[in-house]
């Protein structure tokens, strides 16, 4: 690996109670949002459309003025600074480049405006484009290269300014799924190499969970939860988020706690031992398909397999009980079970996400309690 001569910087980002409204709208796009990003982190901002994630990126880039609150890069308050004064690199949606310029001219545009000496610009371009394997394409225009190459060029363009903060707005949305996975891996590698604080906006939960050190989930202009992918997966703060970060849709149950401290799901066709909740309380329970254990049992009478779907390394089954309730399970594809086969299901308390039946807020989950030694 060649010595990195590109000066890479990384700063901590502090977002403090930022309020942003568009026009006369009463509903804020960002409702007093606070976020701390340590230097060098790769943070994904994840949310459905209209959640405020792109507004967040624009506020960080200085493209939108805030109504209240502060944005700090390290110790420097940048709230009032224009985009060109902030030292950020941005990869815009769909990896945009200047359509009328060659890749070289697009990439060198910002340093040329900043009057960086020509030699220095050439040196940086050479280094960055070597990393990204696009050195041979610099004479072409964006319309003459593939989606993946355009993507790499857009990243190169953001990096040649030696930014303190790298912002990416759905950069992979315009490329196909296979290439997207490959580019993700490359992005993670590149981030390891340069170490620049990076904030990555996406609506794709799989993408966010796959690449980010931490994920900040947004909804309706508010931060719902910030945590590592594993924390979000294991201990979502509410049932909406549990659904949102799931790759396979959750099984949702209305449940109550019986006298034997069991969680009773689906009129009792499925029970979970050791609820550790007040007797008689009514709760909402979410269980991931991969957390339902299923085994064939010829004598079983309650559950039968309805359909099966081969998904490569795993098989997805829909099973139905005698009352007509259906749930989804996912198991490894070691053994295929046939439709109509009677089965037994088992769910561990540690795998149940328990939410308040009214508000959808999470009760401290058993796994979180165990992890923190509370039990």
């Amino acid at each position: 690996m060649s010595e990195t001569t590109l000066q890479t910087q990384s700063v901590a980002i502090h977002v403090r109670k930022v309020l942003k409204r568009y026009g006369s709208s009463d509903k804020p796009a960002l409702n007093e949002v606070s976020l701390e990003v340590p230097p060098g982190e790769l943070l994904a901002v994840l949310g459905p459309s209209g959640s405020g994630k792109t507004t967040m990126l624009n506020v960080l880039a200085g493209l939108e003025q805030v109504e209240a609150g502060h944005v700090l890069f390290g110790d420097e308050d940048v709230t009032a600074l224009q985009p060109e004064q902030r030292g950020v690199g941005v990869v815009f949606q769909s990896s945009m480049l200047y359509p009328h310029l060659s890749l070289r001219d697009s990439i060198s545009f910002a340093p040329r405006i900043a009057k960086v000496p020509k030699q220095e610009i050439s040196r940086r371009i050479e280094e960055v484009t070597n990393w990204l394997n696009i050195g041979h394409l610099l004479g072409r225009r964006p319309g003459e290269v593939s989606g993946g190459e355009r993507q790499r060029a857009a990243i190169a363009k953001a990096l040649v300014t030696q930014p303190r903060l790298l912002l990416m707005d759905e950069p992979f949305s315009a490329v196909d799924a296979q290439l997207r996975r490959q580019l993700r891996t490359e992005l993670v590698k590149l981030h390891r190499r340069i170490g620049t604080t990076t904030i990555f906006v996406t609506h794709d939960q799989e993408e966010a969970m796959a690449i980010a050190d931490r994920v900040a989930v947004m909804r309706d202009g508010e931060l719902v939860q910030v945590g590592t992918p594993l924390e979000l997966y294991r201990s979502p703060v509410n049932s909406w988020l549990a659904d949102f970060v799931s790759i396979q849709p959750l099984n949702h149950f209305d449940a109550h706690v019986d006298e034997a401290d069991r969680l009773v799901l689906l009129d009792g066709t499925l029970t979970v031992e050791g609820a550790r909740l007040p007797r008689g309380s009514r709760v909402a329970v979410g269980v991931r398909p991969e957390h339902i254990t299923m085994r064939p049992e010829p004598a079983a009478t309650t559950w039968r397999i309805l359909t099966q779907e081969m998904l490569g390394s795993v098989v997805k089954y829909v099973v139905r009980d005698t009352n007509g309730h259906e749930i989804t399970t996912v198991t490894t594809a070691d053994e295929m079970l046939a439709p109509d086969q009677p089965v037994e299901l088992r769910v561990d308390r540690g795998r149940c996400m328990v939410f308040d039946a009214q508000t959808g807020k999470a009760f401290a989950s058993a796994s979180a309690q165990e992890a923190s030694g509370v039990s």
């Binding site: 624009n58 985009p83 200047y98 405006i113």
Partner: protein, 287 residues
């Protein structure tokens, strides 16, 4: 596309091209037909001896005919030459002013969140529904009192009433089709708001602005109604009324044909050079 559809489309294209081109080709052939041959019957499609003398003669020069006779400049040469020069001057000025006015106006209408944007655009284009003849009387009164009748300045003003709404309309759709984040990218790259337009938006819109310029030029070059009413007989007479007046004077048909071809030359050249830009315009929406 199915074979049948392809055949239908191609046949339609050929018919349309023939419909448009045959009269032009016919005029061009007539313009190089010797007058005596043109008068003889039966009429031949292609002249026995092509005679190019009409062209230099219309441009005010002597010419030697195929039979070796030295011919005087045409009596209409001053009319035609001045017409061409006036047309060129008017069209160039109209094009320049149209671009200066319409590029920023169209950009603002396309990119800024303006109140009454839709209504404004519709009003602008609605002025195009008015036939030019409807505005001649007010213009006539105005120009008489301002002394603009029979001047190129006056004609430029009337032409702008046609080109400005047209170009604002076309330009708005052009700018709206630019990638949405272009200016944001320019801002992050260190441009001020104004510089983002001059350094990025305008260069990136080169083809569109070229198309706008060509349309403005052609509209002005071909404009007949205002030119006829305000400038006929004046020193500021442009080419279209000059050509028309040839019909009403004692004239040789082959000479009129040659004059027509001279007037067609600039638009045809422009169209040939810039056709790939003009093709982007379809006058309803763009692209």
């Amino acid at each position: 596309m199915s074979i049948r559809r392809k055949v239908v489309v191609h046949v339609a294209a050929v018919v349309l091209a023939a419909w448009t081109l045959i009269p032009l080709v016919w005029v061009a052939i007539v313009s190089i037909t010797p007058p005596n041959e043109f008068a003889s019957r039966p009429l031949r499609f292609w002249p026995k001896v092509p005679d190019l003398t009409n062209y230099p003669r219309l441009l005010g020069r002597e010419a030697t005919s195929p039979s070796g006779k030295v011919l005087e400049p045409s009596g209409h040469s001053s009319l035609i030459v001045h017409g061409l020069i006036n047309s060129a001057e008017v069209a160039v000025v109209v094009t320049a002013i149209s671009l200066i006015v319409c590029v920023p106006a169209a950009y603002a209408l396309a990119r800024l969140n303006l109140r009454w944007r839709e209504a404004g655009l519709l009003t602008i284009i609605a002025t195009r529904a008015l036939p030019p003849i409807a505005t001649t009387i007010p213009f006539f009164a105005l120009f008489s009192s301002l002394g603009l009748s029979g001047t190129r300045t006056g004609l430029v003003i009337t032409h702008l009433t046609i080109t400005v709404p047209l170009l604002v309309w076309i330009g708005t759709s052009f700018f709206a089709s630019l990638p949405a984040g272009l200016e944001r990218m320019a801002r992050v790259d260190g441009c001020s708001r104004f510089r983002a337009v001059t350094k990025v938006v305008v260069p990136a819109s080169g083809p569109s602005i070229t198309a706008m310029a060509v349309i403005a030029f052609l509209t002005s070059w071909n404009e007949f109604t205002f030119a006829l009413i305000f400038n006929t007989g004046s020193t500021a007479q442009t080419f279209p009324p000059a050509l028309a007046s040839m019909f009403f004077q004692v004239s040789v048909p082959t000479e009129v044909a040659a004059a027509t071809c001279l007037g067609l030359l600039p638009p045809l050249l422009l169209a040939a050079v810039f056709q790939r830009y003009i093709r982007r315009v379809n006058f309803v929406g763009i692209q």
